[in-house]
Symmetry: none
Subunit: 231 residues, 2 copies
DNA sequence: CGTAATTATTAAGAAATTGTTAATTTATTA
DNA sequence: TAATAAATTAACAATTTCTTAATAATTACG
C-alpha cells in the first residue's frame, strides 16, 4: 500500500470519524479538519493526495475553500453536501470538484469513490489492467484486447470476463458469476450465464467449439484457462 | 452441505419466515428471534455463523444488539433497515455490520448476500489446496494433479478424492463416502461408490490392479494410502 | 479346499449438465 | 418515439456423467 494522504473536512465529528475509519481500512493516511480555515491550512501544509470536503462549514464555507484550493492546485476534491438540490451539486462541480456525494452517504461508497479517483491518478493506476496470455482487460478503458485485436464486448460480457480474468484458473459457479457480474439483485436463471459465455466465446475463441480460454468445468461452472504461450 | 447456522432477527414474523424459507433452501439451518433479548441469547447459545439483524426491534433495538455482539465476537452481521435514510446504514456499518440491506428487499438477494459472506469466511472453504505425496488436489481450481500430470476427474470422482485426501490413512465406509461426496439425500446403493473408486483408480493408479494410492479395506471401505516417497 | 461374503469389472440405460438457436423482453440511442 | 442493441428466457440437441445390474474375481474363514 502506498499510503496516500486524504484530507477529510466536515464539522460533524461523527462523519469525519466514520470516513476516516473506512479510509484507514483501505490503507490511506487521513488528515482531518472541522472548519474552512483549518482545511486550507492542512491542504497547503499536509500535501494531501485527495480532499473530501463538506459544503456546509462554519466560518469559511466549503465552496469558498474549494474555489481557493482550485486556484492553487489540482488536488482532486470530493464535495460533500447535505442538501439534495441539484443546484448544489452543480455548484460543486462547477468549481472543479472531481466528484460529489450527497449526505447521508454510505462510507463504503465514499471509500470506493476515493479509491476510484486515486487509482486514476498518474503514478498509481493499480490493477486497471490485467494481462493473461494474449488477453488484456483494461478496466479503466472498459476494453478487452486479444492478440492485439480489440474484442467488442457488451457490458455483461466485459464484466464476466473481468471476474474470470482476476483469478485465472479458479472455477466460478454460475451463482458466483451472477453475483459478481450481474449483481445480487438479479432475479433470473443460472442459464443466462451460459448464453453470455457462449457469446463471449464467439468473440474471443479462435475455435468456439474447442474453447482455449474459457473452459467449462462440468457440474461446477466456468474458468479462465491459464495460457502458457510456450506450451 | 456444511449446514451453517444463520440467526434471523426481525419482529415481523412474515419477514422472518420468508428469509428462513430461502436460507433453508440453500441448506442453512436457521434460528429465529423476534426481539433483541432473544436475539442476544440465541447469538450466544446457538453459535450462529452469521446473523441477519433488523434495526427496528421492540425492547432492545438492533443497533444495541449489534454493538453488544461486536464486543464479544466477530460473527458476520447483515443489518436490515426499513428506513431509507442512510444515517441508519451508517450507524449499522459504523458498528461493524458486514453488509446492509434496505427493506423492502428480495429474499433471493438476501440469500445471495448470505452465501457471499459465508463463502469468504476463513473456515468455510478450508485450504484451497491439499498435497499428499505426489498428489495435489486444488479445490478452487477444481483440479487434481498427480506427479505433475493433471487427472481429468468428474465431479463425483473429484469429491471422493477430496474426502480421502483430507485425512490420508483414515478408512471411510461407503456410507460416509456417499454422505460426503454424493450428499445426504442420495437414495441409491452403496455399490455405486465402487464404480467411482474404480474409475478414479483407472485415472490415478499407475497399475489399477495393484492400487498404490486408493486402498481397499476389506469389509470396511476405502482409504488413501499415506505415501512416503522413499518407501 | 470350498463356501459365503465382499469387491472388481463391464457395459448399457437413465439422468443431469451444457451448447445452441431463436424468440421475447428490456434498455439504449438517435 | 422509433430504431437499434443487449439481455433474458425458453426450447431442444448434444454431451457427459451417474447409476444400475449382471458377472467375474478376490478374500475370509470354517
Amino acid at each position: 500500500m502506498t499510503g496516500k494522504k486524504v484530507l477529510v473536512v466536515d464539522d460533524d465529528a461523527k462523519t469525519v470519524e466514520l470516513v476516516k475509519l473506512y479510509l484507514n481500512r483501505d490503507g490511506y493516511r487521513v488528515l482531518t479538519a472541522s472548519d474552512g480555515i483549518e482545511a486550507l491550512r492542512l491542504a497547503r501544509e499536509g500535501h494531501p493526495d485527495l480532499i473530501v470536503l463538506d459544503i456546509m462549514l462554519p466560518g469559511v464555507d466549503g465552496l469558498t475553500v474549494c474555489r481557493a484550493l482550485r486556484a492553487e492546485s489540482d488536488v482532486p476534491i470530493i464535495m460533500l453536501t447535505a442538501r439534495t438540490t441539484d443546484q448544489d451539486k452543480l455548484d460543486g462541480l462547477d468549481l472543479g470538484a472531481d466528484d460529489y456525494v450527497t449526505k447521508p452517504f454510505s462510507p463504503r461508497e465514499m471509500a470506493a469513490r476515493v479509491r476510484a479517483i486515486l487509482r486514476r491518478l498518474p503514478g498509481e493506476r493499480g490493477p486497471d489492467e490485467i494481462r493473461c496470455g494474449g488477453l488484456i482487460v483494461n478496466f479503466a478503458r472498459h476494453e478487452a484486447v486479444l492478440q492485439g485485436r480489440p474484442l467488442n464486448l457488451t457490458i455483461v460480457e466485459f464484466k464476466l470476463l473481468g471476474v474470470l480474468v482476476r483469478e485465472p484458473g479458479r472455477v466460478f459457479s454460475r451463482a458466483e458469476l451472477i453475483e459478481k457480474a450481474l449483481g445480487y439483485d438479479f432475479e433470473g436463471f443460472d442459464r443466462t450465464i451460459d448464453v453470455h459465455i457462449l457469446n463471449l466465446r464467439r468473440k474471443l475463441e479462435p475455435d468456439p467449439k474447442n474453447p482455449r480460454y474459457i473452459k467449462t468445468v462440468y457440474g461446477v461452472g466456468y474458468k479462465l484457462a491459464e495460457v502458457n504461450s510456450g506450451t
